[in-house]
């Protein structure tokens, strides 16, 4: 226990400001919390679906949970069930074998049912393209609200797009 406490004290706080605006800081995070609550009445919950990726994108999505990006500190959580999710974060290409599972996952998500396609393969099919086994981009199977290109995109870019989608939705949504 002593080692753990010492290491925690020595490490300090590693979290960095969210990559959302030039005047990043406390005020921005508070604004984000307010926006999230405004549209959802709760924290933003995300269900991640790997529809057939090479697992590179998963590594970078995982990184969002590390102390630098501290995604939970922004009020964003990854959840285990699509029924608990506001947003699907989907990587691709969509393999033929994952098509039905992706559709059913999408159907299970309640409104506002946001979908972000992550990675070149999710955006366009990438190097795998379309074939007997690959249906290509996510938008070929379910509606997509935003895309994050990159192979894989770095965590900050994924986070940026998640925040952009939420803010865009806030602007268009009636005040709750």
């Amino acid at each position: 226990m002593w080692h753990i406490l010492k290491q925690v004290a020595r490490t300090g706080i590693a979290s960095e400001p969210a990559p959302m605006s030039p005047q990043a800081g406390r005020a921005v995070v508070e604004r984000l919390h307010h926006d999230l609550l405004g549209i959802l009445g709760q924290a933003l919950t995300i269900r991640q679906v790997d529809a057939g990726s090479c697992n590179g994108c998963e590594l970078e999505i995982h990184a969002l949970n590390n102390p630098y990006y501290n995604i939970e500190g922004l009020g964003i959580r990854f959840v285990a069930s699509p029924r608990h999710a506001d947003m699907l974060l989907v990587t691709g290409p969509v393999s033929r074998h994952m098509e039905e599972a992706l559709r059913r996952t999408y159907d299970a998500v309640p409104e506002p049912k946001l979908v972000v396609a992550v990675g070149d393969c999710g955006c366009t099919g990438g190097i795998f393209g379309e074939s007997y086994a690959s249906l290509g981009r996510i938008a070929n199977v379910i509606p997509v609200d935003a895309t994050v290109p990159g192979c894989p995109p770095p965590p900050a870019q994924i986070l940026q797009t998640i925040l952009d989608v939420v803010r865009r939705t806030v602007v268009g949504a009636p005040t709750l």
Partner: protein
């Protein structure tokens, strides 16, 4: 401790009675064309001498000069890799079953039937493996030349997979996946349990199959092929890119400059450290110690950021290219990498003490998911998980190719075969890789980092064999006289280890599965292709 194999167990290559042809590559690899009677005899001789089956695949050359239809098996023996090629009868397209000699052959043979239409005669398990019945109507093995899979009607559901049912009072099934509860790749697990205790786990994989091996034949070997190889399994992009490049360089008889291979090794070790840091954090978290995840994920982020700065990509994708390395870090960057090794080592040692002294963590690690060494040997457990069960194989030591021949890599092994053993192997390997990275940065030879490759003007074959962080990665490549890829087979060590995970979970409780699964951390994409 080096891999100990008594002299009496060494297989004399000449005893195989094969016409072995050495491939031009920095690892000892041979190829032989055999006849039907030799197929099983070679397997038995290899098994009898403590060798292991690395990979099996099929080739249908379509008469394009790369042979007709053939089944391939690659074996690791004490001297190196022996790849045998068995030309098949066009009428039957079948070969004798090897699963009775090497249990891990079972799924590979089922994949050969799905992809290439080649069948193992008398195989006990004839169920499709990678093919879920959605690729083509009527079915058409996608790797047969001229095969034109025609789309199945929209809305078709995958074929029912006949899982083995466990009978008895109080047995019930838990079906998990293909979408898993977490940020994980897709696959299906079927648990048969009584109360909390797992009686049986059966996996059903293939959900991430996206037609990689057929896609290879549509790409240029120098550019697209290398990029695709780096995306077989994103967490092992350096290992696959190196194995692919080694295969292409072997096929085209090209020597890579010394500086190029040193830089490749530098990246391979950085990839190993990155993955081990991630796993060590996740394993602590799965055992209830969120502190471990916070600390190790912070170290991993530091590590990836420097990789991104030095190699232009956080995972170092597309940095290993045919002919050498696309990136040649300047001295200042190499100094930064060395300094970072010192920092990370200091922190990893502190965290190891924290893990070792945490009673709760040790209680979850010790004895969980145990694969004893005898079972590991019988089932062919390989790579990192194998070394956790006393299977002392590591290509960097067994066949130390350049630059490992000058680095004296220390193999990390544990005997207990449980989660704790696999955690200990990871800690040891992180520390050893940090030492190697410092040595690689300091001893980097001069000269160019990359040369241009000259395509051969005849049909050629090459192989690449690399010890990635998860285990040995093999790439076998047939290039036609016209310079196009005829066949590229990529083998992930997960093929050997997935079936062993089914054994590791028996008798454990369901809530320990995530921890045990993570301690193996196998690739879905690298397996499903």
């Amino acid at each position: 401790m080096p891999a100990l194999r008594p002299e009496s167990e060494r297989l004399a290559l000449s005893a195989l009675g094969l016409d072995l042809q050495r491939l031009p590559a920095s690892l000892p690899m041979w190829r032989a064309v055999i006849v039907r009677d030799q197929w099983t005899a070679v397997a038995r001789a290899v098994a009898g001498s403590g060798g292991r089956l690395v990979a099996m695949w099929g080739l249908d050359g379509g008469g394009a000069g790369a042979g007709e239809v053939a089944a391939f098996a690659a074996y690791a023996v004490s001297q190196g890799l022996v790849c045998v090629e068995l030309p098949l009868d066009q009428a039957t397209l079948s070969f004798p079953d090897l699963a009775a000699v090497f249990p891990c052959a079972g799924r590979m043979q089922r994949a050969m039937a799905d992809l290439s239409g080649l069948h193992a005669e008398g195989a006990v398990d004839g169920r499709p493996w990678l093919d879920h019945g959605l690729w083509s109507d009527p079915p058409a093995p996608p790797l047969q030349p001229g095969s034109a899979p025609s789309a199945v009607p929209a809305g078709t559901l995958s074929a029912d997979y006949p899982f083995v049912r466990v009978e008895g009072d109080g047995v019930h099934e838990i079906a998990v996946g293909p979408v898993h509860a977490g940020i994980i790749e897709p696959g299906h697990f079927r648990f048969s349990v009584v109360g909390e205790k797992v009686l049986r786990l059966e996996q059903h994989l293939g959900y991430a199959h996206k037609g990689i091996e057929r896609r290879f034949t549509e790409l240029s070997p120098l550019d697209g092929g290398a990029r695709l190889a780096g995306r077989v399994s994103g967490d092992s992009t350096v290992a696959y890119a190196w194995a692919y490049c080694m295969a292409l360089e072997s096929a085209w008889h090209c020597a890579v400059p010394k500086r190029g291979v040193w830089l490749r090794a530098l990246m391979l070790e950085r990839e190993r450290v990155a993955n081990h840091l991630g796993d060590l954090g996740a394993l602590g978290n799965d055992a209830g110690l969120a502190f471990g995840l916070a600390q190790f994920s912070r170290l991993r982020e530091d590590w990836l950021r420097l990789s991104g700065e030095v190699f232009g990509h956080r995972l170092m994708m597309d940095a290993v290219v045919p002919g050498g390395s696309a990136v040649d870090p300047p001295p200042a960057a190499r100094d930064r990498m060395r300094v970072q090794c010192d920092e990370i080592e200091r922190e990893v040692r502190i965290l190891r003490t924290a893990y070792d002294e945490h009673a709760g963590v040790q209680d979850r690690f010790l004895g969980a998911g145990r694969v004893d060494p005898a079972l590991a040997a019988q089932l062919g457990l390989t790579g990192l998980a194998g070394r956790g069960s006393a299977q002392a194989f590591d290509l960097r030591c067994d066949h130390a190719w350049a630059p490992y021949d000058q680095l004296d890599v220390k193999i990390a092994t544990q005997g207990q075969g449980d989660v704790a053993g696999r955690v200990a192997v990871r800690f040891d390997e992180v520390l050893e890789s940090l030492r190697l990275i410092r040595a690689l940065c300091l001893g980097l030879p001069g000269g160019p980092a990359r040369v241009e490759l000259t395509p051969a003007d005849l049909a050629t074959f090459g192989m690449g064999w690399v010890e990635g962080w998860r285990g040995e990665v093999l790439v076998a490549l047939n290039v036609g006289a016209d310079g196009r890829i005829l066949r590229c087979h990529c083998h992930d060590p997960s093929w050997q280890n997935w079936p062993v995970l089914e054994h590791a979970i028996i008798g454990n409780i369901v809530p320990d599965f995530p921890l045990i699964n993570k301690s193996f951390n196998l690739s879905y994409s690298g397996h499903d292709l």
